[in-house]
């Protein structure tokens, strides 16, 4: 479609003043009866649930031990190579095994792409909703103790 020639018209001072008076009167009359906000507000609870924050390791409900099985799949998928594991996983099935000895993540390299939680067969690693921790980190590497803290 070709734009109409109404948009290209020019006018002088007097016509501009008349337009201004017309819109002044019309806008005040139409806004007298309005009380609500013109824009739609998004509910704040939706924003917190889905937000991708820093990674967190999960615990079992019965005895407080790690869900992690030590298969090492999250280490191979990570695009920036920030996860390092030490575990023995010699069983044939992926969902059975021992917890690893050490689990380190370099937080400054993590891009929060959510690939490690998609690959995990046991759902042991997850991205939580808060991201306030980035200003308080003393060292780069986070061990198992810090990753299972609830804050």
């Amino acid at each position: 479609m070709i734009l109409s020639s109404k948009n290209y018209k020019q006018h002088g001072l007097l016509k501009g003043i008349l337009y201004y008076i017309k819109y002044l009167v019309l806008n005040t009359i139409s806004k007298l009866g309005r009380r609500k906000n013109k824009y739609v507000q998004l509910p704040s609870s939706f924003l917190i649930k889905n937000h991708r924050g820093y990674p967190v390791l999960k615990l079992l409900e019965e005895d407080e031990k790690l869900k992690c099985v030590g298969c090492g799949l999250c280490e191979k998928v990570c695009p920036t190579e920030c996860i390092s594991l030490e575990g023995n996983h010699k069983n044939s099935s992926l969902t059975v095994g021992e917890a690893p000895k050490s689990f380190n993540i370099e937080l400054l390299k993590c891009t929060r792409c959510n690939l490690c939680s998609e690959v995990c067969p046991v759902e042991a690693i997850e991205l939580s909703g808060s991201y306030d921790f980035y200003s308080d980190v003393d060292k780069d590497v986070w061990t198992i103790d810090k990753l299972t803290q609830k804050n």
């Binding site: 479609m1 070709i2 734009l3 948009n7 337009y19 739609v40 889905n50 998609e118």
Partner: protein, 528 residues
């Protein structure tokens, strides 16, 4: 070797994904290009780049590619030269004036000699396969103090982009304009040669953070075309919705920048509020607003949550009413219609330099990639493309406002008829097809696919999309392994960047900044 008399018409050639490959020698290139432009009407030069094949074969190491395009039938021709180290190659900037930028880049990166000369560089030969790190020393520059030049660097309070403008003035009128670059080079293409296809999806939204949703769709679409994988219908609809939302966000940003240069601060803040509301919508869908990686090979990663569609419809209704009021009030002032009649781009200039997008449509040419290459559901949705009359800044503003209304119309039609089904197709070669929510179907294959990734076949492919500023494209060359041999990004911002110094004709420096704001050149796409 093919001479120019063997090619008679476009219908006799064989096409592989709309591209035809030709091989010639170094002496016959210039005549072939003249013949292709006049007789076969290849009006646009898209791209020039070099492939380095040191590890595969020892002779004929380099391969120069020229990509040409025919606008009417939407077909491409790729002319290839193979050589070791030639003496000098003739440059094509006599035929297409926008070829100078890529040839000077090849001289800097690969150390291949052309007709012209440039000052030497420390990092010359950067993109070759046998380039090693060396010591780098800082250089200090002498300050040229002359009364008649004005330098606008990125740290200047008037400058909003990452350019350096050198304007030589005489009594407040611009005589000459030069552009210096180099602030945004990050070495993307060389680092992409070390990443596999799954990792490239998470890296693709950092090439330009304002248009992260467009580049996600482009990256996954080229891999699907190369491996011939079908996408489900629901994933196609979700990708279309996200692309149109990104288009609305970018148009709001350029209109806000035009109002900022005209010192209308109230309207600048109103447009930025609309931008933040739509960003909240995208954050509600996939968790992040800037570095989203929402698409993968075979479909889309995230499902539409409950309550998203109704908030989307309510928000877009209120934004549409707001922009109609905004347009009426701003166009009723006489300042707006007079000051914005600067920066004319004629249709001849636009075709010669190869511009695309809303700045091409504002000069009077009706061309839209969404109507030519009919992808996902663009053939079933009815919308119109607005065309301006002359190439001033006022036309680019009017075209963008009309495009916002058309994008809202597209989103409403798609949301009314959302197809149901799965998000990811069952024959995609990633690990997601072997896993459901609770169980894994085949454990041995699951481990195999993650450790040894998808192999890229031994071929070339070129794919393109219509983004909010023009055409963006990807060129991938594979050699049988799981990492690409050559990875080339193309965006139409390079063409407007080379056209910009020639639009000045008796203007102030404030008008020059106005024209820059209306073209919306992002230097992250130009320099990569």
């Amino acid at each position: 070797m093919i001479t120019s008399r063997d090619l008679t018409s476009l219908n006799d050639l064989e096409y592989d994904n709309d591209v035809h490959y030709l091989k010639t020698s170094c002496e016959e290139v210039f005549e072939l290009m003249l013949y292709l432009k006049e007789h076969l009407s290849m009006t646009k030069l898209v791209d020039i780049f070099v492939i380095d094949r040191l590890k595969l074969q020892k002779d004929n190491r380099f391969c120069l590619n020229y990509l040409l395009k025919n606008l009417e039938f939407n077909k491409y021709i790729c002319v290839q030269l193979e050589f070791d180290t030639p003496n000098k190659i003739e440059s094509i900037s006599f035929i297409w004036p926008n070829a100078f930028f890529w040839e000077s880049e090849i001289l800097n990166h690969y150390n291949i000699q052309f007709n012209f000369e440039l000052p030497p560089n420390e990092f010359s030969g950067l993109m070759r396969k046998d380039f090693y790190k060396s010591k780098v020393e800082l250089q200090t520059q002498d300050l040229n103090e002359s009364n008649s030049t004005l330098k606008l660097k990125p740290s200047h309070y008037l400058q909003q982009n990452e350019l350096e403008l050198e304007l030589s003035l005489q009594d407040d009128v611009i005589q000459e304009c030069k552009i210096n670059t180099g602030f945004q080079f990050r070495g993307i293409e060389k680092s992409c040669e070390n990443l596999t296809s799954e990792h490239l999806m998470t890296f693709s939204d950092k090439w330009n953070p304002n248009k992260s949703l467009f580049f996600n769709v482009l990256c996954s679409d080229t891999f699907e075309r190369m491996l011939s994988i079908q996408v489900t219908e629901r994933a196609m609809a979700i990708r279309m919705i996200m692309m149109e939302l990104n288009r609305i966000m970018e148009h709001c940003y350029t209109i806000a920048m035009i109002c900022y240069e005209m010192k209308f601060s109230k309207y600048y803040s109103e447009m930025m509020i609309y931008l933040e509301k739509i960003r909240g919508l995208v954050r509600f869908y996939c968790g992040e607003d800037i570095s989203t990686s929402f698409s993968c090979i075979g479909g889309v990663r995230y499902e539409i949550p409950q309550g998203w569609a109704s908030t989307c419809i309510n928000l877009l209704d209120s934004i549409e009413q707001g922009i109609i009021d905004f347009n009426k009030v701003i166009q009723s002032s006489s300042i707006w219609n007079e000051i914005l009649l600067v920066g004319k781009i004629s249709s001849l200039q636009a075709l010669e330099y190869g511009i695309s997008g809303p700045s091409l449509r504002a000069s009077g040419i009706n061309y839209d990639l969404r109507k030519k290459s009919l992808k996902y559901f663009y053939k079933d949705v009815d919308f119109e493309t607005p065309v301006g009359q002359e190439g001033f800044v006022l036309d680019r503003y009017l075209v963008r406002i009309e495009e916002i209304f058309q994008s809202i119309k597209i989103i409403m039609q798609v949301l009314d008829n959302l197809p149901s089904g799965k998000i990811i197709s069952s024959d995609s070669l990633s690990f997601r097809s072997f896993k459901d929510k609770d169980n894994i179907f085949n454990e041995q294959k699951y481990i195999d696919v993650i450790t040894k990734e998808i192999n890229i076949p031994n071929s070339q492919i070129y794919n393109s999309l219509e983004s909010s500023e023009g055409e963006i494209g990807l060129h991938i060359v594979g050699d049988g392994g799981n990492k690409p041999l050559r990875f080339k990004l193309y965006s139409s911002a390079t063409n407007t960047f080379s056209l910009y110094p020639k639009v000045m004709d008796g203007l102030d420096y404030q008008d020059a900044l106005l024209i820059l704001a209306s073209l919306n050149i992002n230097m992250k796409e130009v320099e990569r």
